[in-house]
Amino acid sequence: MTRTTRRYVEWTIERALFACAVGSVLVTAGIIGVLLFETVAFLREVPIGSFLFGTVWTPLFSDAQFGVLPLVGGTILVSAIAMAVAVPAGLLSAIYLSEYANPRVRRVVKPVLEVLAGVPTVVYGYFALLFVTPLLQTFLPSLSSFNALSPGLVMGIMILPLVSSLSEDALHAVPNGLREGAYALGATRMQAALRVVVPAALSGISASFILAMSRAIGETMIVAIAAGQQPRLTANPLVPVETMTAYIVQISMGDTPAGSIGYRTIFAVGMLLFVMTFVLNLASDWLRRRFREVYA
């Protein structure tokens, strides 16, 4: 190739890559644009206060009410159950992998965790509905066939590898010098792990928690399949609830006419969901960046 053709090829590649980058940014911006547009249209008919703070969600009834709190409550309930499973189990397994397991075990287990994180969530959904719920019903007879508990537990198992893997990364990134410093003062392995390494990795660990929370809030299939479709503001995990995501699925698959107020609720709820997960992701990112600064 001559110098000029080489330069031409370089130029073309550079432009093509640039076009890809611009394209994906534009598509994202477009999606957010549509979301915003429909949300604004929705909020022209429903005041924002009664949307955000209303406690009754009956958009398809003749006396429709648009209080989103039951959906938010259902989402938070299921996510909280998931976090109650994933945080302790994920953190403990991360501590084990980073501080106790010999390197060979780590080399095997880490990729397995990452594979687990890739299991399609529909599988988890049916697992919750057809296996976990009946199992729980044997000793919790009052448990409805659709409920928050079972999908919450299964979702906890789903996000556990995420917590475990990211927390392990954070623990692993703590410089060895700190462990040695602790050992040199007569600390046991556990004292070094719990009182030096974990605190030193705390922002990275919290970042993994927040990211997992964001995953739980945005998770759709498991709750759409196993949590039910009854928007209700409750802390009782044994009865059917509806999460924001499950609601969106329900309406999208129904025959609500485009442009109607019922149809626009999808976008309003979607927007709220987007804002929630976006804020959590930003927080997680900020924490992780701060953690990296400490050990640059």
């Binding site: 040695e180 040199a184 046991t188």
Partner: protein, 273 residues
């Protein structure tokens, strides 16, 4: 001015550890050390005397840190590391399977080549060793020990008004002195210092050297240094290492003025390394 540690009656050394004022504290015989395949130390045999300062000198990569770290079994945590030979401290084989490594490390303190304060407050850095060893729970006593240790490490005046600030806010030299304070807090019998002054300015270095001079009345001190003047100033005995071997050891003055080995002479006179 550096003040010595206030003697603490509440804290007793483990039985059998009452060191004689002089004599052999650490006896090393035929020590080989391997990092996986690579041999880093060969056939080290030497005695380290109690209550004096021994300096380790030698070119970079000759195994000074490795040897130092075999003395508190800090190398145990390196995967694939292997030790052969014998190290006796007060006559006890520290590599004997029955040895309590945690207790050993409590008695053999270490200041690392790269300063490694915990990302905690200045106070908590010094209190850490006291807490994990359950030395004291009493808040007042804890504060007293922390203060004494910081004074002994010649850093008290600089940090006394900000004990609750993060140790990572300190300068490199202050961090190193904090690490010394942290090591002193649990009152080890032996203090291993790996180039404690390499990150310090001349004034801070001088303070550390004064400190070492003070401490040797109570501690057995081993210091690694690249600075020949420093070795000459602070140490009573000097050991010269070269390519994983102990070439020569003896009274510092003799090593610097009339070494028996040509290699030592070349090194201390600056002809290589």
């Amino acid at each position: 001015m550096i003040r010595p540690l206030r003697p603490l009656t509440t804290f007793t050394s483990p039985p059998g550890a009452a060191a004689p004022p002089t004599g052999v504290k650490i006896a090393v015989t035929g020590l080989d050390f391997f990092y996986s395949q690579k041999q880093a130390l060969s056939a080290i045999t030497t005695d380290l005397q109690a209550n004096i300062v021994t300096a380790f000198i030698g070119p970079s990569g000759c195994g000074k840190s490795t040897f130092l770290r075999t003395l508190n079994r800090m190398n145990d945590i390196i995967p694939g590391a292997r030790v052969e030979g014998q190290i006796l401290i007060d006559g006890h084989d520290i590599y004997h399977p029955g040895t309590d490594v945690v207790d050993l490390r409590r008695r053999v303190g270490m200041v690392f080549q790269k300063s490694n304060p915990f990302p905690k407050s200045i106070f908590e850095n010094v209190a850490y060793g006291l807490r994990v060893n359950g030395i004291t729970r009493n808040r007042g006593e804890l504060e007293g020990r922390v203060e004494d240790s910081l004074k002994a490490a010649a850093i008290w005046d600089e940090v006394k008004d900000r004990l609750s600030e993060s140790a990572l806010m300190l300068s490199g030299g202050q961090q190193q002195r904090l690490c010394i304070a942290r090591a002193l807090a649990i009152q080890p019998e032996i203090l291993l210092m790996d180039e404690p002054a390499s990150a310090l300015d001349p004034i801070a270095t001088q303070r550390i050297e004064e400190l070492i001079y003070q401490l040797k009345t109570t501690y057995t001190i081993v210091i690694v240094t690249h600075n020949m003047q420093q070795a000459a100033r602070v140490s009573d005995r000097t050991a010269f290492f070269w390519l994983g071997r102990l070439v020569e050891s003896g009274p510092t003055e003799q090593i610097f003025t009339s070494p028996t080995e040509k290699l030592t002479e070349d090194y201390v006179t600056g002809r290589f390394g």
